[in-house]
Symmetry: C2
Subunit: 362 residues, 2 copies
């Protein structure tokens, strides 16, 4: 069933990240001849029947994968998750209201910064005290806040929420870097959003799924392009959408469904994560950077015990056609991103390189 | 020199519009193997050297084609021109200030609507009285407004400004549907923007070129993603940009430069427009919808004198592999969009169809 095709390069990029080979092939074909129209997808109207079908399916497939009903709506918007950092408080925080945020890293901090421009924003928990190497737990959620904002996976630091806070107020989650990587109970969330370029598709579109009952309550006079209700009414075509990125995102979701959906990918992702974390813990030359219980199955951060050996390790993985495992500048060392499309074989190649490195330099 | 390759279908789509065949070919190749990396452009980091070079060139080429210097900055943003309808007043209208707008159609009206949400917005001229079939002239521009906003070409109605207002206040122009189609004196403008999907590239990115001296004067506390200065500081990579759409836009600009640049395309576009307008005026079965002096060289709107013959005309052009000439619902009839990538040969095919139609039904 698992038909992830191995490309020549083992692509561990943190994002924009690896996409399935068959998706890339179909994307290339659509650049020349889309849907047998003898026209490129890059030069047809987004109002053509052929593309309206793409948009419809792209919206419906999110709801299908998340197993939610018609009380939710799906949009694909431009501007990246960063624009959502502003749009979420703009659409959900009432005039004179407040919002609660959990700060688990750079992206959560940026979301907090924008929310503070809109209104009263309280950081109710943070792991900044230990450089974001763990997920805060046991915090009290204010009952009078308009929503609680969390980040399910922290790409830069390599931490991941293994469970989500029980919450009486609307729960909003940035799932940019682990959407559709594991089973979540989507009905517990009022809003889930994800910049597509990590685990859903290419850069250029952001998926927002929102429960309709949280909208229209702010009392704010809203700019059209920042108003979720405008985009929902326009069925995500209020203006010309990012046509091609959304199509590639649909292809990626279809690849996921065809191979067995979330249940399948969750298992594969666990195998990949186990393989590399086991090696990090076993190998005498490496160590992980975060609390074990909060380790991300998507972004695996690790350091060399002897940093002076980095040039030697770099030579070795580069010669194995591995790409994109240099750590973010805030953490240093290495980061292997194990997004859905990364095959287990690529992880095994990296693990073999780590073993070989130990043999040579331990 | 003119190497526009004829595709099988004559694509007169109003937007997203036709792109050069060689651009489509290179786009398809980049989906599989970009820059000989053995990786797809859809799955590499926007921070990779290879992509940073694309962004740098995409920004520089706009300034080169517009012949402006370092007092201007170029950004590629998500969200479409529609997001710019909000960002322009947000960045240029002072708290307590005002802006002046010329209303020449649906898109100008939408820009006005958003500006009114931000602050004091005056429509100083409008052609709404005659269903936007002409370009207003001879209006007085208020000296105390923060800027004047105009729309150079009106896709839906088929009108185009043949000259631009002399203006002592910053001049802002939506050039979405005729950017790089003709010579303009870009230095007369403080801000030029264009949704790429009509004449620059595919859907998903919007180009904004701004003169730096108009920024930072509003006194407004700004959301990061709506702040031009944030994007300029980040060299259009404050957040993950729409990677692939920007690359295809660069390819399209390179195609234009290689073939002779603006001087070349202006001539070709004039030939195309002359060919079809001459036929509309000559043919006893058709008439144009707008004032002759304001006719757009990009979007040619025309009607049948006997609307009951539409099904017959439709049969004829469809059999000639013509696509996308149905008029916008606000105008009806037909609209042939003659964007840069449309070859003269396609226009000739349409003109031949119109002649044949006259022979059969006059």
């Amino acid at each position: 069933m698992a038909t992830t095709t191995l490309t020549k390069v083992h692509n561990f990029s943190a994002g924009p990240g690896i996409l399935p080979a068959e998706v890339l092939q179909k994307s290339a074909e659509a650049c020349i001849n889309f849907d047998n129209l003898n026209l490129s997808l890059l030069e047809i109207s987004h109002r053509s029947k052929n593309y309206e079908k793409v948009m419809e399916e792209a919206r419906a497939t999110v709801k299908e994968l998340f197993e939610v009903g018609n009380d939710y709506e799906v949009m694909y918007l431009g501007g990246g998750a960063s624009l959502q950092f502003a749009m979420i408080p703009y659409n959900l925080m009432r005039e004179g209201g407040s919002a609660a945020y959990v700060n688990t890293g750079v992206w959560a901090s940026k979301a907090i910064k924008e929310a503070k421009i809109i209104g009263n924003t309280n950081v109710i928990a943070s792991s900044e005290d230990k450089k974001f190497t763990y997920i805060p737990k046991g915090y009290v959620i204010p009952k009078d806040a308009d929503y609680l904002h969390i980040t399910s996976n922290n790409t830069i630091y390599g931490t991941q929420m293994k469970s989500f806070p029980k919450c009486d107020i609307p729960l909003v989650c940035d799932m940019s870097s682990d959407i559709f990587s594991r089973k979540v109970n989507a009905k517990d969330f009022s809003l889930i959003y994800a910049g597509a370029q990590k685990n859903m598709g290419p850069a250029g579109s952001t998926m927002v799924m929102v429960k309709k009952d949280v909208l229209g309550k702010t009392g704010r006079k809203m700019l059209s392009m920042l108003d979720y209700q405008v985009h929902i009414k326009g069925e995500s075509m209020y203006n010309t959408p990012p046509v091609f990125p959304i199509y590639v995102t649909l292809l990626t979701m279809q690849w996921l469904k065809k191979n067995g959906g979330i249940a399948w990918i969750e298992k594969v992702n666990q195998q990949k994560a186990d393989a590399i974390y086991n090696e990090i813990d076993r190998n005498s030359l490496f160590y992980g950077t975060v609390e074990k219980e909060d380790r991300s199955n998507m972004n695996v951060c690790f350091l060399l015990k002897k940093p002076e050996l980095e040039p030697e390790f770099d030579k070795l993985w580069k010669s194995a056609e591995i790409s994109g495992i240099r750590g973010h500048r805030d953490v240093g060392g290495y980061r292997a991103s194990l997004y859905n499309a990364l095959p287990l074989e690529s992880v095994n190649v990296l693990v073999d390189v780590m073993k070989e490195f130990e043999k040579k330099f331990a």
